[in-house]
Each structure stands twice: as structure tokens, then as C-alpha cells.
């Protein structure tokens, strides 16, 4: 199956949106969620989530705390903060503006 790289700069948006939809998730769940929601089209280099999550922790968009998985294993769960929610709207509107612009260009007769 052909899998597309995610467009550059959208990883934050994907993570933010995923967390906004699902509440608390650990890294593996975030990767799976992005993949499944996109019907397996978006392929994240799964490890690259972690540096991105660190940067988001620094920015204060997400917080992390340790919990246990259903399989009874220790995992770090990430959760959106208020600042993260604000950032999501910013990124969403940026994204929509860009997509809209691209669409107008390609669909122009």
C-alpha cells in the first residue's frame, strides 16, 4: 500500500488534533490514532513523535504524566493544555488557509 509522508510542519497539528479528540494518549496510541484516522494514508516516522512531543512540552501545549496501560504497563500519557487548545485553533486556521489557497490554485480553470 502506498503511504504518504505527512506534509512538513503539520506534525504539531496532527498531534494537537489527535489529543483534542481523544483526551489522554501515550506516544504509541498517538501514532496509531493518526494512522488509523487517516485510513492508513498518513505515515508518521513513529519515533519523530517524541522530539515533537518534547518541543510541545517546552512550549507548554501539552503536559505529560505517567499512568498504566490496559495491559498494565507504565506509559507516559500526554494531555492538551489550555495553551495547546489555543495553539490548535491557530494551527487549524493556518492549515485551512493554506489548503484553501492550494485548492483554489489547482482547481482554477
Amino acid at each position: 500500500m502506498h503511504r504518504d509522508e505527512i506534509p512538513p510542519g503539520t506534525l504539531y497539528l496532527l498531534i494537537l488534533k489527535t489529543l483534542a479528540r481523544s483526551g489522554e494518549l501515550h506516544g504509541y496510541e498517538i501514532a496509531n490514532s493518526i494512522q488509523q484516522t487517516s485510513d492508513d494514508i498518513l505515515q508518521v516516522e513513529e519515533g519523530s513523535l517524541y522530539p515533537a512531543l518534547q518541543r510541545m512540552l517546552i512550549k507548554g501545549w501539552v503536559t505529560a504524566k505517567w499512568g498504566t496501560t490496559s495491559g498494565n504497563r507504565r506509559a507516559r500519557y500526554y494531555q492538551l493544555t489550555v495553551a495547546g487548545r489555543k495553539q490548535l485553533t491557530v494551527e487549524m486556521s493556518d492549515f485551512q488557509r493554506v489548503i484553501g489557497a492550494i485548492a483554489r490554485v489547482v482547481e482554477a480553470v
Partner: protein, 893 residues
């Protein structure tokens, strides 16, 4: 505020780095395992599942790195690593570390010590509020230059100026204190009531002077200095309101000045006053005479007034005074100078030369350590080749080497700080009168900052060249050679270092040599009198004599001279008041009798005025050139006579015989004085007196011939006696003679003229001793440097030398080989040094006297000494090379 919270998160990560690593590790492991499990569940083989999980995850190590580096602390971690590594390396070679540390400690310590002096004396503001508004004011007379002023003139300054919020006059005096135990002499400063408020000084006890106390006839009041209050009265608060009897007058103690209050100008010496009294109430007639210049003044400029404005204002004041009192003030001016400049004017050139010298010492120390590092880094070439081969960038290697050298420098700086705090105290204690503002010399934050900066700069300076050289990526060569160099070119930097070091040492030694020659010249210079075996003192007359009628005073003076003359071992005695060489200045204007009187006092010449007894020439061993000196017969009943010095004769009687001519001193004498003799010139202003000194003409007359009104204030006449044997042993006998003369007379200021001469050279001696110490330090460091490099190169060439010996080279040949190499470096260094010194010593001419800045004797002696020392330093490794066992040397590889 967002960035602040972000910073807090970053900092918390920094403090929990270990936790961070394990957390990240665990998180990623969980991810990989879950993915692997998911693959197995969907039917993959365990091995494949593992590979897929890893492939989908990416490079774990690099992702961990990325996650960490997101927090931005790599530089810090590398820094910590570098320091840890540097400490380990320094610990591994304790010999190197010790030598480098000691060298740097000496270099940085000497700089810190001297900077703390320069900082305290020259740079830091005076300890008065808004001290940059405080200036010194002095009169200026054509043909004379800057001068003291008269008190009436000062009062006009106060009245006429527009730019000063306050002005205060001051002058030094001393008094005979009685009624508080044994009579004693106190040094006093007579000041305006505005003096303390102007300097923003509040009394620690009591109050400042009132303006009523600063008037003629006002209530006599005294303020004690903090130091005197403590030493004399045990800091007793009861002293307030009590009377203090000074020269027979009771002064009420109204206040005590703070102990740390300090005020001095070079003209008043660096000594502090014991007590302060008001100048306006002074009963000394000269104070209130516009013709007599007795005071100096300070002023506080109004807020916002610049120095230029104040100067322009005082120019106007001077002009209007010139119009009002043309006979005194015509064409005279008023000089306004920042007080700080006036205070430090005499020592500034010394300190600047010393600062330059000590900078050189640090340079030499740095070069030495750089050399050591270079020698060591050649040994470590392999270590860095491996690091580079493993992917360390050149910048990273340099950073690590610089961390090492800066660490060394900072440790050396800390040690140097200890040396400096001890050394400064020792130097100031040894030469207390050499510097003004000695109280202000301390290790304050400025000094600490200075030390930190020079340490860092030194670390980078001596670390950079070795680091650049070591990091040069000649991997293959170094690895192949096994880390041992043999090619000649690699010593080039070391050789240059040695040459530079030698050259710096030459410059310093020459500077020190010139200063020493100056001082030796001054010691042996003929001051015009012979200070050896002369005992000098003052006598405190009780009021019963001091305030008596003129004839009683004359009789007492004569009687006391006779009493002193019969003390066993005393060969001559003379009263001396007025001007005294190296000690006290007193001048008088005159004009030649028979010539028209000049229109005003400004146009009259000045001469130094010595009032002495008939035996003065015998005591001081001043030669009589013509005619006769004063005799005991020149008294109140005979015709007024005077004796002039050779400069006087030459200047005012160029082609005539002065004997028999008459001089008018109309300020003091109604009748002209007849010249009866000519004597040798005396260096009044110090052994380094030049022909530019303001008053060159000198004249002598008998105090017994002074008019009655001049004999009113005779509280403390001075005496000089010539003794057989050590003069300091005569204090007891003199005191006995005084007691016999009058039980209430006291002995003050007993000292030998030799010590007066020594004191006059204190600043120069301070500079000379320090320069000599710095030069000695430079000599030692430079010899260590050349020794180190020559033995290092000889060691590196052991293989070659062994081969030569095995092939039959004579030991003398080997000696010549190694010694020749050192000698070449030393000579080159000495030559460069001589050239540099010829250019640089010109900057120190202000502190030289009687010796040229390019004195050939000093230059050649230093060149010779330094070459010898360098050869001696090279001889040790040369001899070692000579005795090399060829078998050992050859097998070593």
C-alpha cells in the same frame, strides 16, 4: 511571562536530566514493544516483527538526541564534560599543573595588587558625596605658577563667585597642647566653617562649626579627628564641651569627625590632622593679610555647573580682584582643578609606569604557560588525532583545550587574589607615606572583576596558540610518528615565545634599572647641605614664653641655643624657622634698594626666606662663598643684614658684587637689609629639584632682627643640631636640656635629617622597589621559560643526539649544539628587547631624574646580565644532553 514559564520548564529539565533520560528510554521501549506485539498479532514472525517495529520507529539513538537537544542544554552538558575532563587531565600531570598555577598566580596576583592600588588611588571617586563636583582652587601668579592664596582674597572669592554652592579655605598648622597630661604637639587643620558640610561629612559626635565661630573674635572651637579622639581620649563622649588648651588658648570641643574622614593634598603631606579649628577666628596676623598667601581652598560646584563654567567664572573673579587690588592681584589668576587630580598628581606617573610593568609580567607568565601547554600538547597529539578521527570537529577540540586553559587561569587567578590581598597589605604597611589615599586601597568589586577578566583573557591568550596548533588535523603524520615530533619547524612557535619572553624581560629590567639609577643618583646627589648626623626638632614653648614681649622671646631663644650647645656631643646648634629644606616653604617679595620700587607686588620677585642662627652653616655644612654669614652680633640692636645664596647672586647681581648692596623687604622690614655674604644653594624642593622650581633665590636672616610684631607668635621654634655619632641617640639629652631651660617646654617632631631625606623619596622608593620586584619576577619567569624550551627540544632531539654521540661526536660538540640553540634565542630576544626598551622607556621620563631614558650603562648591563642568566639556564639541559648514554637514547624508540 510566557518565556519565563518556558525557562522554568527548561531549568527543571536540567535539574532532572537523569530522570529525563530514563523516562524517554522507557517511553520509546514501550512503543517498540507494543508495535512488535501488534505485528506478531497480525501474523508476522517475531524477527520480522522486531525489524518492522524498528524500521517504522526510526533511528532510536538519534531521536533520543533530538528529544534531548530540543531542551537546548547540549552546550552546558558539553561544558560540564569538558571541565570534568580538564580536571582529570590537570590532575594527571601535577608537576605541569603546579608550575602553570604558580606562574599564573604570580602574574595575576601582581596585576591584581597593583590594580587595587591604581583603583583605590586614581580611579575610585573620593569618598565625598558627589565628589566630582568638588574642586581645588589655587592662586596663579605670573612668573611663579600655581600658589597658595591669601585668606582675604578667598573671602572675596566667596563673595564674588556665581558657580559654587560652597567654598572652604584650609591650612595646616600645629599647636602646643597643654593641660592634658604631658604637653604635646598636635597637627591641626584650620578650616572654614563650610569645610565639613562641603565635603558632606557629618560629625560622629557633636556638631560642625557655626559661622559665628569662623569670625575674628568668635568663640574658639575645636573639632577632633576620629583617630585622635580615640587615641587621646579613648573615644569618651564626655569630651564634648570641654576646653582644649592650644598654644595657651582654650578651645571648646564642639564635635568629633568620623574616623575614616580623609583629606589630604600633596601640599599638606599624606598625614592626617589631629584637630580642626576655624580659620576665620585665627589670631595669626598673616591669615588676615592680603599680602601673605597662607591658605588653600576647596569648592563644591553648584549642581549642573561644569568645570569649564566654574573656570570661566573664577577668571572673572580674578579679573575683578586684579582691578580692586592691582598691587597684589594684577594679572594673577585662579586655577580650578578637580580635587582628585590634585590629590594624586604626584603619584600618578609612578603608578602608570608600574601598571605597564606589571602587565608585562603577566604577558611573560602567559607566554611561559603557553610554552608549557605547547610542550605538553605535542605529547598529547595522539590523543587529539584519535578524537578527530572519531569525528570530533576542530572547533570542539579547541573548545575543550580552551576550557582546560581557562580553568587553569581561573584557578591561578584565585591563587593570585590571595597573593594580592597579602602583598598589597604588606607593601602599604612597609611604605605608609608613599601613597595618598592608602585607605581607599582594597579588594573591592572592581578589583575582583578586573581579576576575573584578566584571568579569562589570560586563559584564552595562552591557550589559543597551543589549541590551534594541537587541533591542526594532521592525523596520519601524528598517528604514524607515534606522537613524537622530530621536525624542526614545529619548534618555531616555541622559539618565538622564548624570544618574546626574553624581550619583555629586557624591557622590564631596563625600566627597573633606570629607576634604580635614578634613586641611587638622588641618594648620592648633593642637596647643597649635608643631612648626615643632623638632628632636627621643634620646641613647644609654654605660653609664658610664647606670648611674652619680644625681648623676652629673643632672650629665651638665645638662652635655649646656649643650653643646647653645651650638650655633650653636639658640635653646632641653630635655630631654624621659616623655610626649611625638604620640609617647609616660606617666601618673601623684595626689590633692590636704590632701584625704583615696582608698581605692585605682582611685579616683585620672590625669594625663599630662611630665619636661622649664626651656626646654621656649620650644622648644615653649607659652604660660604663670599663675605661672612650671620653672627651673634646681628641682633635687634645692630643694623639689619642678610645673606643670599649663589642663585640669588647670579640672578639679581649678575655682573656685580652683591656684598654691601641692600634689599628691601618692605612687607616685613621698614629698613632695607644689607647683604653681607653669599652661600651655596640648597635644594629646597627635594633632591629631584629642577631649575623649573618656582623659587630659586634664597636668603637668610637672623630671627633676632625680626621686627617686634613678627615675634608675637613664637610657640614652636625649630632647631637643628649637628652631632658626633648617630643623631637619633640625642633625643634624651636634648629633652634634658629643654627641661633645664624650662620645665614646661616640650620636644616635638624629633627626627634626623637623613630620615627627612628618605621620606622625601618615599614615592620613588615605592616605585623602585615594586619595579625591581616585577623585573626580578620577569627574570625568573623568562629563565624558566628558556630553560623549559631548551630542555624540551633537547629531550625531543635525544634520539638524534644519541646518534651523533654514537657516531663519535665529542661532548663539547653536543654542549655547543644545545647551548648554541639557547644562546641564539636569548640573543635575538635581548636584541628585540633593547629595541623595544629604547622606544618604551621614553614614556617614563617623568619619573627619571639625572639619567637618560636610553642610558647606555643600564642597557648594556641588562643585556649582559640577561644573556648570562639565559645561558646558565640553557647549560643545565646542555649538560644533560652531553652526558646522554647513546644506547639508552637509541633504544628508547
Amino acid at each position: 511571562m510566557i518565556w519565563l514559564r518556558e525557562l522554568a520548564r527548561r531549568l527543571s529539565m536540567l535539574t532532572h536530566r537523569r530522570q529525563f533520560d530514563t523516562d524517554l528510554e522507557e517511553e520509546m521501549r514501550l512503543h517498540l514493544e507494543l508495535r512488535q506485539q501488534q505485528q506478531i498479532e497480525s501474523g508476522a514472525a517475531p524477527d520480522d516483527a522486531h525489524t518492522t517495529a524498528r524500521r517504522r520507529f526510526g533511528n532510536v539513538t538519534s531521536l533520543k538526541e533530538k528529544s534531548r537537544s530540543a531542551w537546548g542544554w547540549e552546550w552546558f552538558e558539553q561544558f560540564v564534560d569538558d571541565i570534568r575532563y580538564a580536571l582529570r587531565m590537570l590532575h594527571k600531570s601535577p608537576g605541569f599543573t603546579a608550575v602553570a598555577l604558580l606562574t599564573l598566580a604570580l602574574g595575576i596576583g601582581a596585576n591584581t595588587a597593583l590594580f587595587s592600588v591604581v583603583n583605590g588611588v586614581l580611579l575610585s571617586p573620593l569618598p565625598y558625596q558627589n565628589s566630582d563636583q568638588v574642586v581645588s582652587l589655587a592662586d596663579w601668579f605670573p612668573g611663579y605658577g600655581e600658589s597658595s592664596s591669601s585668606y582675604p582674597n578667598f573671602l572675596d572669592w566667596v563673595r564674588l563667585n556665581q558657580t559654587f554652592s560652597s567654598l572652604a579655605a584650609y591650612r595646616r598648622d600645629s599647636f602646643n597642647l597643654t593641660g592634658q597630661g604631658d604637653p604635646e604637639q598636635v597637627t591641626a587643620m584650620e578650616v572654614s566653617a563650610s569645610f565639613f558640610p562641603l565635603l558632606s561629612v557629618d560629625p560622629v559626635l557633636g556638631r560642625n562649626f557655626s559661622s559665628a565661630e569662623d569670625q575674628l573674635g568668635g568663640p574658639p572651637a575645636v573639632i577632633l579627628s576620629g583617630g585622635y579622639w580615640k587615641s587621646k581620649f579613648g573615644s569618651s563622649r564626655d569630651i564634648l564641651g570641654k576646653p582644649l588648651n592650644l598654644d595657651g588658648t582654650d578651645y571648646t570641643v564642639v564635635g568629633v569627625a568620623p574616623e575614616n574622614f580623609y583629606f589630604c593634598c600633596s601640599s599638606t603631606g599624606f598625614r592626617l590632622s589631629d584637630v580642626y579649628i576655624t580659620i576665620g577666628a585665627s589670631k595669626d596676623p598673616p591669615v588676615h593679610d592680603r599680602h601673605i598667601i597662607t591658605i588653600r581652598a576647596v569648592g563644591r560646584m553648584k549642581e549642573g555647573v561644569t568645570l569649564a563654567q566654574a573656570r570661566a567664572d573664577m577668571d572673572n573673579v580674578a579679573r575683578s580682584l586684579g582691578g580692586a587690588y592691582p598691587d597684589i592681584n594684577k594679572n594673577s589668576g585662579i586655577v580650578v582643578t578637580p580635587l582628585q587630580q590634585v590629590m594624586v598628581r604626584d603619584v600618578r606617573p609612578f603608578l602608570l609606569v608600574l601598571l605597564a610593568a606589571v602587565g608585562f609580567v603577566l604577558l611573560i607568565a602567559c607566554v611561559n604557560v603557553a610554552n608549557l601547554l605547547l610542550a605538553r600538547s605535542t605529547g598529547r597529539g595522539r590523543e587529539f588525532a584519535i578524537r578527530t578521527a572519531l569525528g570530533a570537529s576542530r572547533g570542539r577540540v579547541i573548545r575543550q583545550l580552551l576550557t582546560e586553559s581557562v580553568l587553569l587561569a581561573i584557578a591561578g587567578g584565585a591563587l593570585g587574589l590571595l597573593l594580592a590581598s597579602w602583598g598589597t597589605r604588606a607593601a602599604l604597611a612597609a611604605l605608609p607615606s608613599a601613597l595618598p589615599r592608602a585607605n581607599d586601597v582594597r579588594l573591592d568589586p572592581h578589583v575582583l572583576l578586573f581579576t576575573l577578566i584578566i584571568s579569562l583573557a589570560a586563559g584564552v591568550f595562552f591557550g589559543l596558540v597551543p589549541a590551534l596548533k594541537t587541533s591542526r588535523p594532521d592525523l596520519i603524520g601524528t598517528l604514524k610518528e607515534g606522537g613524537r615530533g622530530s621536525s624542526g619547524a614545529r619548534y618555531r612557535i616555541q622559539n618565538i615565545f622564548v624570544i618574546v619572553e626574553m624581550a619583555l624581560a629586557v624591557v622590564l629590567l631596563i625600566g627597573a634599572g633606570l629607576t634604580i639609577r635614578t634613586l641611587v643618583g638622588l641618594w648620592t646627589a648633593n642637596p647643597g647641605f649635608d643631612p648626615h648626623n643632623v638632628f632636627s626638632f621643634r620646641v613647644g614653648f609654654p605660653p609664658s614664653i610664647g606670648n611674652a614681649d619680644p625681648n623676652t622671646v629673643r632672650a629665651s631663644l638665645r638662652q635655649l641655643t646656649e643650653k643646647l650647645a653645651v650638650v655633650p656631643g653636639v658640635t653646632a646648634v641653630s635655630l631654624t624657622t621659616g623655610a626649611k629644606p625638604l620640609d617647609h616653604e616660606s617666601g618673601l617679595i623684595f626689590w633692590r634698594d636704590g632701584q625704583p620700587k615696582p608698581p605692585d607686588e605682582v611685579s616683585m620677585p620672590y625669594a625663599l626666606w630662611y630665619r636661622v642662627g649664626p651656626d646654621y652653616l656649620k650644622v648644615m655644612k653649607i659652604p660660604l662663598i663670599r663675605g661672612r654669614f650671620l653672627t651673634a652680633q646681628d641682633d635687634a640692636n645692630s643694623v639689619g643684614v642678610c645673606v643670599i645664596d649663589e642663585n640669588f647672586a647670579q640672578k639679581f647681581f649678575a655682573n656685580e658684587d652683591p656684598i654691601g648692596k641692600r634689599l628691601n623687604f618692605s612687607l616685613v622690614y621698614n629698613q632695607p637689609l644689607q647683604i653681607v655674604g653669599v652661600v651655596g644653594h640648597v635644594k629646597q624642593y627635594g633632591l629631584d629639584e629642577t631649575t623649573e622650581a618656582p623659587m630659586q633665590a634664597q636668603f637668610y636672616m637672623s630671627p633676632l632682627q625680626l621686627p617686634d610684631d613678627q615675634l608675637k607668635t613664637w610657640a614652636m621654634p625649630g632647631y637643628v643640631i649637628r652631632t658626633e655619632g648617630s643623631p637619633s641617640a640625642f633625643a634624651g639629652a636634648v629633652r634634658d636640656a629643654l627641661r633645664e631651660f624650662n620645665s614646661k617646654a616640650a620636644l616635638y617632631q624629633p627626627e634626623t635629617l637623613d630620615s627627612v631625606v628618605t621620606r622625601s623619596l618615599a614615592s620613588r622608593r615605592f616605585a623602585m622597589i615594586l619595579l625591581a620586584v616585577f623585573a626580578g619576577l620577569a627574570l625568573v619567569l623568562a629563565s624558566i621559560g628558556i630553560y623549559g624550551v631548551v630542555s624540551y627540544i633537547a629531550g625531543q632531539r635525544a634520539h638524534e643526539i644519541g646518534l651523533r654521540i654514537a657516531l663519535g661526536a665529542q661532548p663539547s660538540h653536543v654542549l655547543k649544539l644545545v647551548l648554541g640553540q639557547g644562546a641564539r634565542l636569548a640573543l635575538l630576544g635581548v636584541l628585540c628587547g633593547l629595541a623595544a626598551a629604547a622606544a618604551l622607556t621614553r614614556l617614563m621620563t617623568t619619573i627619571l631624574y639625572g639619567v637618560s631614558a636610553t642610558d647606555p650603562l643600564t642597557f648594556s648591563a641588562v643585556a649582559f646580565v640577561l644573556t648570562c642568566v639565559a645561558l646558565a639556564a640553557c647549560y643545565i639541559p646542555a649538560r644533560r644532553a652531553m652526558r646522554l648514554d647513546p644506547i639508552v637514547a637509541l633504544r628508547h624508540d
